[in-house]
């Protein structure tokens, strides 16, 4: 392996932990039920990784008959990094996130 060495152990690669896919730690997996999700982004606020992204409103279905919600950014879990802590599921005000057994 080629070692990366810098003078004074400086790390000039901001945000480089993103190379570590901590999703492998997961034993429980959060699954968003988009038909329930009101796009309040509370899960996004509290994910400690953070492993929840705000994405294009059209990328996921919104609850039926709620056009205002459909215009908000959708949330998406980045399973590369989600450690499966369950905070998002716990904090979701409408129980739209379910923790399921991780199958690897």
């Amino acid at each position: 392996m080629v070692k990366k060495v810098t003078v004074g152990a400086v790390v000039p690669w901001p945000g480089s932990t993103a190379e570590n896919k901590t999703g492998s730690w997961r034993t429980l997996k959060p699954v968003i039920h988009y038909e329930k999700c009101i796009r309040c982004a509370i899960c996004w606020m509290y994910c400690p990784e953070p492993a929840i992204l705000k994405v294009d409103p059209d990328k996921y279905p919104a609850p039926e008959g709620k056009p205002a919600i459909a215009k908000l950014p959708a949330v998406e879990i980045d399973y590369d990094y989600c450690k499966g802590c369950g905070i998002c599921a716990e904090e979701c005000p409408v129980n739209a996130i379910e923790m399921v057994e991780e199958v690897k």
Binding site: K4, V5, G8, A9
Partner: protein, 402 residues
């Protein structure tokens, strides 16, 4: 250049002033207190344009220096003895992060018992922290070595912190004539510090001071080893350039009256006494020489060996000790002799701890003992001079028998 009558602390303060540090962080301790006092006065009078942080401890003083240096500033601090000991943890961090901090030390004994007078135990106890270490013999040297220290520390081939020691009271509080260089001359010798690896800039967000696992830690330590080795050449360059710019010659090791069978090795202010002694002894026909060690870290082992060629007894006279072993300077001298095949005998003389005067009488005893060693009448080893050994033993015996 202006000639001024300055105590050692003022000379060191002048060195710092001429280097134009951006940030100074300091905490008072005898005998180096006058340095931050003088700098504070200059700043208060608008003569000097630096940020002064008067911290609540030496630990914080050096921590603030690390913070400022990591931001990309030139920094300065001064301390002594207990204060340097309190900085110990951060000394390793400054060198590990390769920050070119320069610090003046008023070399003073360590507690207990508490003692404000001169010896070299404070700097010797920080020998392995990865700092360059220089010892001044005079107030002039204190000033000049601070400028040289910055020049070397900030050199991109080096990037290591440096400390310059000046002996408590003998130098710190004693007035001497000092040539104070002009600011423009110093500016030419020591241009503004431009950080390349260590800065804190939101435009270029880097991380400094990460966790180094076994996978990488040793590479960083090896880098320090290499940088310190390179410093040997850079120090010589910086001293030569200093000589050309200011007309005063410096070298990491300074021989005097070479070619003797007995060679005295010293550091700091007692080197002057040693030379006076050697001059006198030579006139009386003694075969004795002297080497002054200016740069203790890095240590110039091969150069020293050259200066010791032909010696029969090497007498290391020093103001510090490594309990359970021999004096720290003697350890390096021994390595130099072994490594480069100097077959002389090595004797270690411990003198002047806690401010006890180091006099011509001490050097006479060094010489007499060395001569006996030369003749095979005495085993070389460690000799504590000018100590009431009997009284010490008596006191210990009272305890043994209690």
């Amino acid at each position: 250049m202006v000639v001024m009558t300055l105590e050692g602390n003022e000379a060191a303060a002048w060195g710092a002033r001429l280097a134009r540090p951006d940030v100074i962080a300091a905490y008072p301790i005898t005998p180096s207190t006058h340095i931050p006092e003088r700098l504070s006065e200059w700043i208060a009078d608008g003569i000097m344009d630096s940020e002064m942080i008067l911290t609540e401890s030496e630990h914080s003083a050096l921590s603030a220096c690390v913070g400022a240096s990591a931001t990309g500033a030139r920094v300065f601090t001064a301390t002594a003895s207990q204060g340097l000991a309190l900085m110990h943890e951060i000394l390793h961090i400054a060198s590990g992060m390769r920050l070119p901090i320069v610090m003046a030390i008023g070399n003073r004994a360590l507690s207990a018992p508490i003692n404000i007078w001169c010896d070299h135990q404070d700097m010797m106890s920080q020998r392995d922290t990865g700092w360059m270490q220089f010892f001044a013999e005079s107030n002039q040297e204190a000033l000049d070595l601070i400028l040289i220290a910055y020049k070397v520390a900030e050199d991109r081939r080096v990037l290591l912190p440096a400390m310059v020691g000046l002996d408590a009271f003998t130098l710190t509080h004693t007035f001497e004539q000092v040539d104070v260089p002009e600011q423009e001359e110093v500016d030419r010798y020591l241009p503004k510090y431009r950080p390349v690896h260590a800065f804190l800039d939101p435009e270029r967000p880097i991380t400094q001071g990460p966790l180094g696992t076994p996978q990488h830690y040793m590479e960083f330590k090896y880098a320090q080893y290499e940088a310190m080795n390179r410093a040997k050449g850079v120090i010589v360059e910086a001293m030569e350039e200093f000589g050309r710019a200011f007309g005063r010659e410096y070298a990491p090791l300074v021989p005097f009256s070479p070619g003797g069978e007995i060679v005295l090795v010293t550091m700091g202010s007692m080197s002057g006494t040693a030379r006076v002694f050697v001059r006198g002894a030579r006139q009386e026909g003694e075969s004795v020489s002297h080497v002054k060690v200016v740069a203790f870290r890095p240590f110039y082992h091969s150069k020293l060996a050259e200066l010791l060629a032909g010696a029969k007894v090497v007498a290391v006279v020093e103001r510090a000790f490594s309990y359970g072993s021999v004096g720290p300077l003697a350890q390096d001298v021994a390595y130099a002799m072994h490594r480069y095949g100097i077959k002389a005998k090595l004797a270690n003389f411990i003198v002047g701890l806690g401010g006890r005067d180091v006099t011509l009488r001490d050097f006479s005893e060094v010489l007499e003992t060395s001569k006996r060693i030369l003749k095979g009448e005495e085993d070389p080893g460690v000799f504590w001079l000018n100590v009431a050994k009997e009284e010490v033993l008596k006191a210990e015996e009272v305890i043994w028998n209690a």
